[in-house]
């Protein structure tokens, strides 16, 4: 729904000055809103962002939240990851001020058709593939969302009839109100993010919000093999289309095929994109080959499920590098795959102890103090024809700024090793 006037003259406060908070504040200012931003963190990064936003006439508060920035506002925009229990959002609730998310704000201004992808694993791959297929078919499309390229950054450039392939997390779905994707895709559903959700039901409820505003002319695409999703999809008004992986196409590709056929895109275009697609960075990314040993960067796997996914898609016996910051992970689901596919493992980070207890006795385990050391140990244990897989099952914040940095450090270590070898 394009409503250019929605924000005109409104007083809006954006909570959270991360990537999407910055571009959202800028977009709102450009659309005529009186914008303020508040972020409890006062770091070099947020200060740099503040000085950039000041040129747009945006007032930025760092290091604290004051009630003055919430009271009297017409609207509060919460960045993804801001909990509804945080101080500013509790104030807003108390004052009766509506709160929306960044996705919703961008949606109000967007003239494009939205294809929204959510799920526990494979979101980024599917979002990227759908965008690439659309471009291959000669349509104007942008790939954005929870992918490192916020929706609000792209809205300005969008025109009528364009397509947006949008990755949305369950966090972002919690704050939607009128967001109505033409095609909603729920890839799969599994236990992660339990630190934020009290129960599976709550998590499922967040995921299924993706279709609450859909009409009978819209489409909902889900995995046929997921009984939980199939049951939840019964509540949707939109047309239900399901996909299932086959011998030829994995689940992600099957989902892309279904979406493409809904959009009326020729199969040949899709196949051409599949052939060309080398994967996305930090997700089963080929990081090099040294004396017959393949290195695979899967730093984006911050959950056990993501690693289960990765291991089921790796063809060779491998040396696994895992560990990082824990959030009460249950490692049981990965044990069977580890037994079948992993020969030895190198553990890093805070989670070392728990992972080694969980996997102890199945395979030989090593510990390393740094990721660089882990790469060297893994290489020394690997035989030609095997692979070294970084798929941590944990978040990166104990040793790195984010998973991207962890992946880059891994690739740098591999390059260093290649020079030495």
């Amino acid at each position: 729904m394009r409503n250019k006037d929605y924000f005109k003259g409104k007083k809006v406060t954006v909570v959270g000055l991360a990537r999407s908070g910055i571009s959202c504040a800028r977009l709102l200012a450009k659309s005529g809103a009186v914008v303020s931003v508040t972020d409890s963190q006062d770091t070099a990064a947020t200060r740099a962002a503040r000085s950039r936003l000041l040129t747009y006439g945006i007032k930025v508060e760092l290091g604290q939240h004051t009630k003055g920035l919430i009271r009297g506002r017409d609207l509060i925009v919460a960045s993804p990851g801001v909990s509804d229990k945080s101080l500013p959002l509790r104030w807003a609730a108390g004052l009766g001020i509506p709160v929306i998310g960044e996705i919703e704000a961008a949606w109000i201004l967007s003239p494009a058709e939205v294809i929204a992808v959510t799920g526990s694993n494979g979101k980024t791959t599917v979002t990227t593939l759908i965008g690439m297929v659309l471009k291959e078919a000669g349509k104007r499309a942008v790939i954005c969302g929870n992918i490192g390229n916020p929706f609000s950054r792209e809205v300005d450039k969008l025109r009528n009839g364009d397509f947006v392939s949008l990755e949305v997390s369950s966090f972002q779905l919690e704050t939607i109100r009128d967001f109505k994707p033409r095609i909603a895709v729920i890839l799969n559903f599994s236990r992660n993010h339990l630190d934020r959700y009290h129960s599976m039901r709550q998590y499922l409820a967040a995921k299924t919000r993706i279709f609450i505003n859909q009409d009978s002319d819209d489409f909902l695409v889900i995995n046929r093999q997921d009984p939980v999703l199939k049951k939840a999809a019964g509540k949707a008004r939109s047309r239900l289309v399901s996909f299932s992986p086959s011998a030829k196409f994995n689940a992600n590709q099957a989902a892309v095929m279904v979406v493409s056929s809904i959009l009326g895109i020729k199969r040949s275009n899709v196949l051409r994109v599949f052939r060309r697609f080398k994967g996305i960075e930090h997700r089963l990314e080929e990081a090099g080959k040294i004396s017959g040993v393949r290195f695979i960067n899967d730093s984006k796997s911050t959950t056990v499920d993501a690693t289960v996914w990765a291991l089921s898609n790796v063809d060779y016996p491998c040396i696994l590098i895992a560990g990082g910051r824990e959030k009460g992970n249950d490692y049981a689901p990965v044990r069977e795959l580890v037994r079948r596919k992993v020969r030895e493992a190198v553990l890093i980070g805070e989670a070392r102890g728990r992972i080694s207890r969980a996997l102890g006795g199945i395979i030989p385990l090593h510990e390393a103090a740094s990721l660089g050391e882990a790469v060297r140990i893994a290489f020394s244990r690997a035989a030609s024809g095997e692979s070294v897989l970084l798929s941590p099952m944990c978040k990166s914040f104990d040793m790195f700024a984010n998973y991207e940095e962890r992946g880059r450090v891994f690739k740098a270590a591999v390059r260093l090793l290649a020079r030495g070898a």
Binding site: M1, N3, Y6, K10, N160
Partner: protein, 364 residues
């Protein structure tokens, strides 16, 4: 900010209704005394309409307008059924050659009023559902045109050309703004022009009305009578009017003084000042409605608000235009002010829905 829109819309509507109450009493008391020996006859009935209307408006105001959507089609089907039923002699009540009303003891009900709201809801829902497919001929243009055509044809059979033209223009504009191809819409207009010509000039009373509009003095005692009386009323009001209650035209000169021609009586008793005040109130009303439009976040809300606003706006323009002799005589009441049963009630319900749409974003 959004709250202020609602408060202003509410205030303007209340003022317009109050003006209506005063003027209905002023314009109808003598006629009511002559006919029913009760000078309050029309005022009392109008007050009961006001109460019913306001109660219904508060009812629709308290329910999220998006919950109307699942009922869009059934509401339209019910209206279509009623539009067919009203044509059956014995069920529908015939007044001066037109079969437009159902009549129960005290209340008369005009199904075309329900059909107007139902059609606007349906078209808004359709536009919201189709999204960008609205540009296609088979899937975006033809389905609503068939449905709209059916509704308008049934209203035309009553016959009620005024409602057909008003409602037709509203849904036409809704489709135009939603992005239906202009070439389709233009060809539709061109195709309907001959039909419109036939409808107007083959029916003697309509032709007379058009001729009377062009030169009322050609037949001052016949077809030109109403227009001339209306202009006499407006003219004798002058700048400041003859004073509240002092209208002479309401003394059986101007027919339908408390319904379709109430604007002329306002002009006579309160002068240019009074008529300008009414017009300014309508402008404020429409301005607030446009603010509501600009505050919507979903296509359904946008187009529903657009349709309802256009309908009220168009009714006001046509009514005022007819009173001044700027438009040929068409029996459409002045929203919120005219005495007019179901039409009044549906106008108030429209305001209720608009207020509800103004609450967009405040729902959890």
């Amino acid at each position: 900010m959004v709250r202020n829109i609602r408060i202003r819309l509410f205030n303007v509507t209340i003022i317009l209704i109050s003006i209506g109450l005063i003027m209905i009493y002023s314009a109808s008391s003598i006629y009511a005394w002559e006919r029913y020996s009760d000078s309050f006859f029309f005022l009392k009935r109008h007050l009961s309409f006001v109460m019913i209307g306001v109660a219904l408006a508060f009812l629709v105001m308290s329910v999220d307008y998006r919950r109307l959507r699942p009922y869009a089609r059934s509401l339209l089907l019910i209206s279509l059924l009623l539009l067919v039923l009203v044509l059956i002699p014995g069920l529908g009540r015939e007044i001066s050659g037109a079969r437009r009303w159902f009549r129960f003891r005290l209340l008369s009900f005009q199904p075309s009023e329900l059909a107007s709201i139902a059609l606007i809801i349906y078209v808004a829902d359709f536009i919201a559902r189709r999204g960008s497919m609205i540009k296609s001929f088979w899937r975006g243009f033809l389905p609503p045109v068939i449905v709209i055509g059916a509704v308008l044809c049934l209203i035309l059979l009553q016959p009620d050309l005024g409602t057909v033209i008003a409602l037709g223009s509203v849904v036409f504009l809704m489709l135009f703004i939603s992005g239906v191809k202009v070439s389709y819409l233009l060809s539709l207009v061109l195709l309907s022009l001959p039909a419109l010509y036939l409808l107007v000039f083959s029916v003697p009373y309509r032709r007379m009305r058009i001729l009377a509009f062009l030169n009322p003095w050609a037949d001052p005692k016949g077809s030109g009578f109403q227009i001339i009386q209306s202009q006499i009323a407006l003219g004798s009001g002058g700048l400041f009017g003859t004073g509240l209650g002092h209208s002479r035209q309401k003394l059986f000169y101007l027919p339908a003084a408390h319904t379709d021609f109430i604007f002329s009586i306002i002009g006579e008793e309160l002068g240019l000042l009074g008529t300008m005040a009414v017009i300014i109130l309508f402008i404020i009303f429409i301005q607030q409605c446009l603010k509501i439009l600009k505050n919507t976040r979903d296509r359904f809300g946008y187009f529903l608000a657009l349709g309802l606003t256009l309908m009220i706006c168009l009714k006001a323009i046509i009514n005022i235009g007819v009173s001044c002799g700027l438009l040929p005589t068409k029996g459409l009441p002045l929203p919120f002010i005219s005495y007019g049963g179901s039409s009044f009630i549906f106008d108030i319900i429209s305001v209720g829905i608009l207020m509800n749409i103004a609450r967009t974003g405040e729902y959890p």
